[in-house]
Symmetry: C5
Subunit: 80 residues, 5 copies
């Protein structure tokens, strides 16, 4: 997984039907590069998250073949 | 997924039969690197799009084993 | 696989249920980039490890579809 | 897919039996990095090609589990 | 596939049981980055090799789910 910070959200009206409804968050990783990840957890801007990539991300969706290659799997606890 | 902008289209007459008919668009991502993605949505030059990569892209095609590793899954709404 | 050194651990309370319980270690690879890998071996900070990535990592988990794309598969023996 | 130019061919006598017979071409992509792709199309040096990567490339081979992670899927038409 | 040169071997005593017995070679690719690949061919230091990555590498192992994401599939013939 990679660690990144949520920096925004993207909206797409013209999209494949197979793309599941739900939040698509823009995440910036430590190297400075950015990706768009599906968020089932309701994360907000500024939150530090764990992202899984590739076919593993799509495999999380049950009963559908979701064309999703990046999935937020956890929010990282703030260190105290 | 990654966010990119359509900058052109490529044509390939000499190709594998397994490669589905349809538009192959050249997309430039934020880092400046480029890739060629299959476009089922009819996107045009300059449009900002979401691209899914890897076996997840091929999995979207039904009933065929398409040798496609990049798929446009959505067009990003312009911010108002 | 890639070789890296364990530099810490991340904790995530708000997470997908499908994410297996167990240590999520932060690993720094030779290039300087970092990733978070699931650790079934009980590795500690400073330990040099081998990490497998992608769907192969998820395939190691039996009977579940774990959204894990990085797995520590071995600890590298110190050279004498 | 990525776009690249064929810059040579590699030969391997000592190889896995599972590796299919056929041309293994060296392809240079726009970023300057290079990869070796299986070529079912008979492409020649200097030709601009489309390369699919990952398990999608292996999936093109029928009835065998080919350890091939890069496949030339088309030759790009020269612009007139 | 990528082309690289064998620069060493790593040993791992503390490892997952699922990781197959056999040589784990360190390979340096042209860009200067390094990876660890499973070697079924008995390659030696200095040898130039072809490496397949990702789930395709794991798929080469029969009857087991090997957590291996890089496999040496051939040794490159020296040019005469």
């Amino acid at each position: 997984m990679i660690k990144g910070r949520v920096i925004g959200r993207v909206w797409s009206t013209k999209r494949l039907e197979a793309l599941p409804q739900g939040a698509l968050l823009e995440v910036e990783v430590e190297s400075g590069s950015r990706l768009i990840a599906f968020d089932p957890l309701g994360c907000g801007e500024g939150e530090e998250v764990l992202v899984t990539q590739g076919s593993v991300a799509a495999g999380w969706f049950e009963g559908v073949r979701a064309p999703v290659d990046a999935l937020i799997v956890g929010s990282i606890d703030e260190s105290g």
